[in-house]
Symmetry: none
Subunit: 412 residues, 2 copies
């Protein structure tokens, strides 16, 4: 079944609020087996809201609206929907009782405009609001279903979960199953080339790739008559994808790369430290931002100046003079010095040229050395991150450090 | 002038990504004097994209699209727009050269599908991409202007600022002048209360406040017949705002707090180091992410474990045992130890409880101590960041460290 999400609120068109409701509802609807064809946002303007309803109704069986159910003058969603449905608004006594009770309990005076909130289109199913005063409602216009929710996420989300999901479950045909497959170390276009025949042959399951900040995520989705069938179809495709690009895959759930590494290291009882130059604390932050990282993460020595590299990590002045700060020799001395200071089971180091200045013929911007010392052995890699800005290079450098750890843990 | 923002991407309809682009573009367009009538999101589906273009073009003079300019099969925005405009796609040589250069520099193989990215609708103005490979473009269809940007915010935002704002400024009637006033250390509602009469009396200039990640930014905007008039009106209002909340203002331009501090320190020839526990490298990252920060930033010792605090910073075991890691005593020993190690002109330290676990009656989640050692004196502050998640507390802690430095530099 086809659906659209219609958000009402001038504050969104001003950019004052990010439309997180649309993302939440999309996830929910997709999970329930609905295709979401459109997100549409209009301001508190009855004509445009009506046109948006008409546009959505042309193609969609289900229209979900959020916003514009409140007590003030510019809350017009109900009025427009009842006009669209050709019915009038009637008072819902349960909603009215709840609104009166709400004001009584809070000791605040109920103003006249709050009565307005208890009205819903005639014949609609009312969805009560446990976290605010404006109720939602479900109504039918021809063969289309319109469900209207209040705008604040704290009111909308519980109402959706309590009242909408049971209703929608009876409407949807089939069950959707999705799986994320997340990769590091391969670009989106190369990845797509590797799996092109799978992409080309897709009907169900479908496969979609998304690139963000140096990682590429694939989403495999199947819609079948039972959850088991859908899962089996997705798993079969996932196996094929693994055969092609398995070396770059780090997880099939929603965890970040650092979370996956942290979990693996915690399971093995290993400790972690980093010596960072160009990443400047990004690597440490990716771990310390995770609750419970203190089980694993010990310290990061962010030695940005050459003096700091010598003083904190014992990098030799001759090494810096002969090979430069951006060199495999410096990266190896950094990681060795870090191990001496911390004794952590896994030590990683990075030194690179993030630019924009400082480029030479031999050492272009984007040249980055990463090193790992674990199990008594050092491994160092050279990376060339071209045509990126400073912070993209720094992020890629961080991912390269993580890839060294991941590959060590996977013994590959 | 009327405008619409049209987002292209199935990942948004799946709810995998929140549409922050639409919020950013709305803020920008409103600031430039455009009314935003619609946000519209469609998937990677040519028919629906075409219908959405038609719907927007009925009412709007300007349509901004984001997404669907990449190299893969499902990137179809350009194809649909050129069909809508009744023109063909032609190769843009500068974009092609940039894409080839990108692959050459990064040493990666350029796949066939990357060539696709260099095509733009015939007659369009090409907007080069300094942060990725897909260029954007501006084209005219009848009297309507269509501007297309890549989807990743890191590519879209600089392209908008460098190429679109100068173009759009000539389209808008009258001259717009805007000024940002950025604050740290005051909440949005308190700030609004302080300037409420200015907000209430606004017609032109307008004043809008935006709260994000612990900072509140005001944007003052005037639209007059000449640039001088608009600037004079904004400056007059800015003076009033300064009188009310000047102690919290750190800049009137678009620099971040760390950029402002870095520039001040560079001017004075001062060096900077940090000792971080709960912030875990966030503070260092805020500086090292800025090009040229090596003039000022020396090192960060991210001592997450107690052992690291003792080994790297000389924090005493007795201090940790008696007062705990989260205490003013530990913060002061951290900053002293950092000064001994680095000799930096300004040393700052932080230790706090970011949670969610580890809370006690005396030490709630959000208790954070920050210390500065500069000019031979230590100053330590206690902060209580309640009712926030781990990473919001970590970010507030970082801002508190910066505020200590800023106030020292301003001698207040």
């Amino acid at each position: 079944m086809k659906s659209a999400i219609l958000t009402v609120g001038t504050e969104i068109l001003f950019g004052q609020i990010v439309n997180t409701n649309a993302a939440y509802l999309s996830q929910q609807l997709n999970g329930l087996g609905f295709d979401v064809l459109y997100h549409f946002t209009v301001g508190d303007n009855p004509d445009r809201l009506k046109r948006a309803l008409e546009t959505c109704a042309k193609e969609c069986d289900l229209i979900i609206t959020t916003g514009g159910l409140g007590p003030t003058q510019d809350d017009l969603t109900k009025e427009v929907i009842s006009e669209f449905a050709g019915c009038r608004l009637t008072i819902n006594q349960e909603a009215m009782d709840r609104i009166e009770g709400y004001f009584k309990r809070s000791g605040r005076e109920m103003t006249e405009n709050n009565v307005k909130q208890a009205y819903v289109p005639e014949g609609a199913i009312c969805m009560q609001n446990d976290h605010g005063s404006a109720p939602g409602f479900i109504c039918k216009v021809d063969n289309k279903t319109i469900m209207s929710f209040p705008g604040p996420p704290k009111e909308m989300m519980p109402m959706f979960e309590n009242s909408a999901i049971p209703y929608l479950s009876t409407m949807s045909e089939g069950v959707i199953y999705s799986k994320f497959i997340k990769t590091v170390g391969i670009g989106e276009s190369l990845l797509e080339t590797e799996i092109m025949d799978i992409v080309d042959a897709q009907t169900d399951p479908t496969i979609a790739t998304y690139a963000k900040d140096g990682e590429v995520t694939m989403r495999l989705t199947s819609k079948r008559s039972s959850a088991e069938e859908a899962k089996a179809a997705v798993d079969e495709m996932a196996t094929k994808v693994h055969e092609r690009v398995g070396n770059y895959i780090y997880t099939e759930d929603e965890r970040s790369f650092s979370e996956v590494i942290l979990d693996k290291m915690r399971d093995k009882g290993l400790s972690l430290s980093s010596a960072e130059s160009c990443t400047g604390g990004l690597f440490a932050d990716a771990f310390i931002s995770i609750p419970g990282s203190s089980d694993v993460f010990d310290r990061a020595l962010v030695t940005y100046s050459n003096t700091a590299k010598m003083q904190e990590l014992g990098v030799k002045e001759e090494t810096l003079a002969k090979f430069g700060a951006v060199s495999s020799q410096t990266a190896e001395e950094m990681v060795s010095g870090l191990y001496e200071a911390s004794g952590s089971d896994i030590c990683v180091a990075v030194t690179g040229l993030a630019g924009p200045g400082g480029e030479t013929l031999e050492k272009p911007v984007g040249l980055v050395y990463t090193a790992i010392l674990a199990g008594g052995k050092i491994r160092c890699t050279e990376n060339r991150f071209g045509n990126m800005d400073r912070n993209a290079i720094r992020r890629r450098s961080m991912l390269a450090m993580m890839k060294l750890i991941y590959d060590y843990l996977e013994d590959r």
